[in-house]
């Protein structure tokens, strides 16, 4: 048996790491040693997997023996299921780092004996970690609820604290019910974690809530998680925090005319929303933003939710922009994802990793619309807000695109309030031709040109030209000249006029 004294202790003194990816750093490194933690969840939500990872990590990484006391599953089924998740508890048993106690058929009269057995095994193994799966099943053995409460309060509570055994108490949460287990466990426990599952947009989403955690500064934000072949992976959300620093330095968007309209360019750390219908040049604007960053030796992370890296490179080559060169010298990184409700958490986790590793000074997200489709409104708003606040605090200038298909104004896009700069690109019908219009709807803290300007997508990218002269209704999508100018033009066009009634002169 491996002695606990010969193995490294859990990373933080008096803290017990769970080994669940993405979770420990949310709870200051782990559970306080000796705590009683209630882990409640829907059937199939991953309670057994979480608790098994807790025991396995303790044994493998820290040499802390653990006990799994099961009132619901027999040993063979447990070992078989855990082997599938690459956790070999059999070998740990041989090394005296793990023990499985089968209490499947325990009745009330034997509960005292079961508890005594657990205590004996803890002493025998010198266990530091204990999982009871589940208290709901244990409580069913009691004929009176009060007896279960007594066991919980007096026996389990004292047992774990006195022997400094960190205990995970599993409880069932019925689908459609708000109560956890028997309704008493959460009051005794030092921490309460709840795993839930729900259908969102046709796909199963898993949520992780830290409802209670004494003595630990843990985020109460709802987390998401996945059950992978390597166990549970928790996806912590981006934390929103007030900007640590406000930047007065200006950056270039890459579009000269747009920079002029913004009286020199947006502030560093701004989030710029470029909004428009399909084909108006949003991606071209984003590519120009990225290329300007590369020209200034700034690192740009381009996250595309619509096009692959190859497609973007090909598009850029059409303007003579050699993105590959900048990828090779590390100034540009492109990541392509195709968000759907079932993979959105992984995408966020991957994106956050990229940001943490690459440390860009410019960020492009193309487009927010694809993201919005894959999540609920509430979650989308939180994600955008947290992203915006993180970038502002770190001085990362972000350009995000969004599509409006119904010709609505940017103010109709409900996260536009989070944006520092909003640029609208539109196609305008004018004299049997499609022309492009650009207007700045918002530029927080910046004097800006409010005129509607025509722009072209030329061989070198977007070029902003003059403002539309003597044309009205541009934002309505169908521009027209003022009546008098129109009439003057018509009169001297020389074309025969169709017979009209009521013409006056």
């Amino acid at each position: 048996m491996t002695s606990a004294s010969n193995s490294p202790k859990s990373p933080v003194e008096d803290r017990v790491a769970t080994g669940v990816e993405g979770f420990d750093n949310l709870i200051e490194g782990g559970f306080p040693r000796g705590d009683l933690i209630l882990l409640a969840g829907h059937p199939g939500s991953g309670k057994t997997m979480f608790s098994s990872q807790f025991l396995y990590t303790g044994a493998i990484q820290y040499g802390e023996p653990g006990i799994y006391a099961s009132f619901a599953e027999n040993r063979e089924a447990f070992l078989r299921n855990m082997r599938r998740a690459n956790m070999d508890f059999e070998s740990l048993e041989q090394k005296n780092l793990f023990r499985f106690i089968d209490f499947v058929t325990v009745k009330e009269q034997a509960i005292d004996a079961a508890l005594a057995t657990i205590m004996a095994e803890i002493d025998s193994l010198k266990a530091s970690r204990l999982v009871i799966d589940s208290f709901s099943a244990m409580a069913q053995a009691f004929s009176e609820k009060i007896d279960a409460r007594i066991v919980l309060h007096t026996v389990l509570g004292r047992m774990t604290r006195l022997s400094k055994v960190t205990t995970l108490l599993i409880a069932e949460k019925q689908l459609g019910s708000e109560s956890l287990g028997g309704g008493m466990e959460e009051f005794v426990s030092d921490a309460v974690l709840v795993l839930t599952q729900s259908m969102e947009r046709g796909h199963m989403r898993r949520h992780f809530d830290i409802v209670k955690m004494r003595g630990t500064g843990a985020s109460r934000a709802r987390l998401t998680y996945d059950i992978t072949e390597h166990g549970i992976v928790v996806h912590p959300s981006l934390e929103a925090h007030p900007a640590a620093r406000v930047y007065s330095e200006r950056v270039s968007t890459g579009v000269e005319g747009l920079d002029r309209m913004l009286s020199g360019g947006p502030y560093k750390g701004s989030t710029i929303l470029v909004m428009g219908e399909a084909g108006t040049g949003k991606t071209t604007t984003a590519l120009q933003f990225m290329m300007r960053g590369a020209a200034n030796k700034e690192r740009t992370l381009y996250v595309s939710y619509e096009e692959s890296q190859e497609e973007l490179i090909r598009q850029a080559l059409g303007f003579g922009w050699r993105i590959n060169d900048h990828i090779e010298n590390g100034l540009v990184r492109i990541a392509s994802f195709f968000p759907e409700p079932y993979n959105i958490d992984n995408i966020f986790a991957d994106t956050r990793k990229l940001i943490d590793e690459y440390q860009p000074t410019r960020f492009v997200l193309d487009s927010l619309t694809s993201l919005e489709r894959a999540m609920s409104d509430d979650e989308f708003f939180r994600v955008v807000r947290r992203m915006e606040s993180r970038f502002k605090g770190e001085g990362v200038t972000a350009l995000v695109t969004a599509r409006n298909t119904d010709g609505g104004l940017p103010s109709d896009f409900w996260v536009s309030s989070l944006m520092d700069v909003i640029v609208s690109l539109r196609q305008v019908e004018s004299e049997s031709a499609l022309r492009r219009a650009l207007v700045i709807f918002k530029a927080r803290g910046l004097p800006h040109d409010t005129s509607i300007k025509e722009f072209e997508i030329g061989p070198k990218g977007i070029v902003v030209e003059e403002k539309f002269a003597d044309i009205e209704q541009i934002l309505g999508g169908s521009a027209r000249r003022p009546a008098r100018v129109q009439a003057w033009s018509d009169a001297f066009s020389g074309a025969p006029r169709q017979s009209r009634s009521g013409a006056k002169g």
Partner: protein, 264 residues
């Protein structure tokens, strides 16, 4: 504008023509001399110049929207005439003949530009020009600059004084050319009107006719303040007023749009 007003609009032309005939050919009213530079200046500035600026403005806006050169030429023509008429009036307060020369330069230039515009309009389907601002600047500013230079040359007596001498060969040739240019322009625009029935063209072509009659009077004038001169001035002023009518005459087009649903 009502159809009756359109009918009445034609009336001043034959009246002016008859007066010109009477004063010029039959010598009626030869003793009715009324030189008044002040009145000329007032009419030039507050009527001719003001209206020419309005027409030039709407023409350049139309040019920016359509890129049609004929519209730009038309705007340049009226602007040239309006500015030179004003400058000529001002110079007349110092030297009448030089003032007439300046006025003549503007008129003949305006006539030429109107003819060019009329030809392009008559032929129809004017091409869309590029570099609109550059072209507009070259036309308007370039033309004014050119005419101003000529005027300075005339004022400094570098150009022959007979350019402005009433009755001189050069002055008459200038006036005759101006009459011819405006007349042909008026004919062409009138034909376009008959094709399109556009009220704007109706009034504009009438304006050109009135200006042509006015210059016909100038052709026959014998001296400052004579009845022919005032007939000419009156006719040119009527022409300017007709130009203004053309701007105001926005056709009431039959709408092809459907009413909003809640009103249907």
């Amino acid at each position: 504008m009502s159809f009756n007003l359109r009918k009445l609009g034609v009336a001043p032309l034959p009246v002016a023509a008859i007066l010109a005939l009477g004063f010029g050919v039959f010598g009626i009213g030869e003793e009715l001399i009324f030189p008044s530079v002040l009145l000329e200046v007032i009419l030039n500035v507050f009527l001719i110049l003001a209206i020419s600026v309005v027409v030039a403005r709407i023409s350049v806006k139309s040019f920016f929207s359509t890129g049609s050169l004929n519209v730009l030429l038309l705007g340049t023509a009226v602007l040239a005439f309006g500015t030179m008429a004003t400058l000529g009036g001002a110079v007349s307060s110092i030297d009448v003949n030089k003032g007439i020369a300046v006025y003549g330069f503007g008129a003949i230039t305006a006539g030429g530009l109107h003819l060019a515009s009329a030809v392009l309009t008559y032929r129809g389907s004017p091409r869309r020009a590029t570099r609109l601002k550059l072209r507009a600047g070259a036309c308007y500013i370039g033309t004014i600059t050119f005419l101003t230079t000529l005027s300075v040359l005339a004022i400094d007596s570098i150009l022959p004084a007979s350019f402005g001498e009433p009755g001189s060969i050069i002055q008459r040739a200038s006036a005759a050319t101006t009459v011819l240019l405006f007349t042909i322009s008026a004919i062409l625009f009138s034909r376009v009107y008959l094709r399109s029935h556009n009220p704007i063209l109706y009034w504009y072509s009438l304006g050109l006719w009135a200006t042509a009659v006015g210059f016909l009077s100038f052709f026959a004038t014998k001296g400052n303040g004579d009845p022919l001169l005032w007939t000419g001035i009156a006719s040119v002023c009527v022409g300017s007023i007709y130009f203004l009518f053309s701007i105001l005459a926005v056709p009431n087009l039959r709408s092809n749009r459907k009413p909003p649903e809640h009103l249907s």
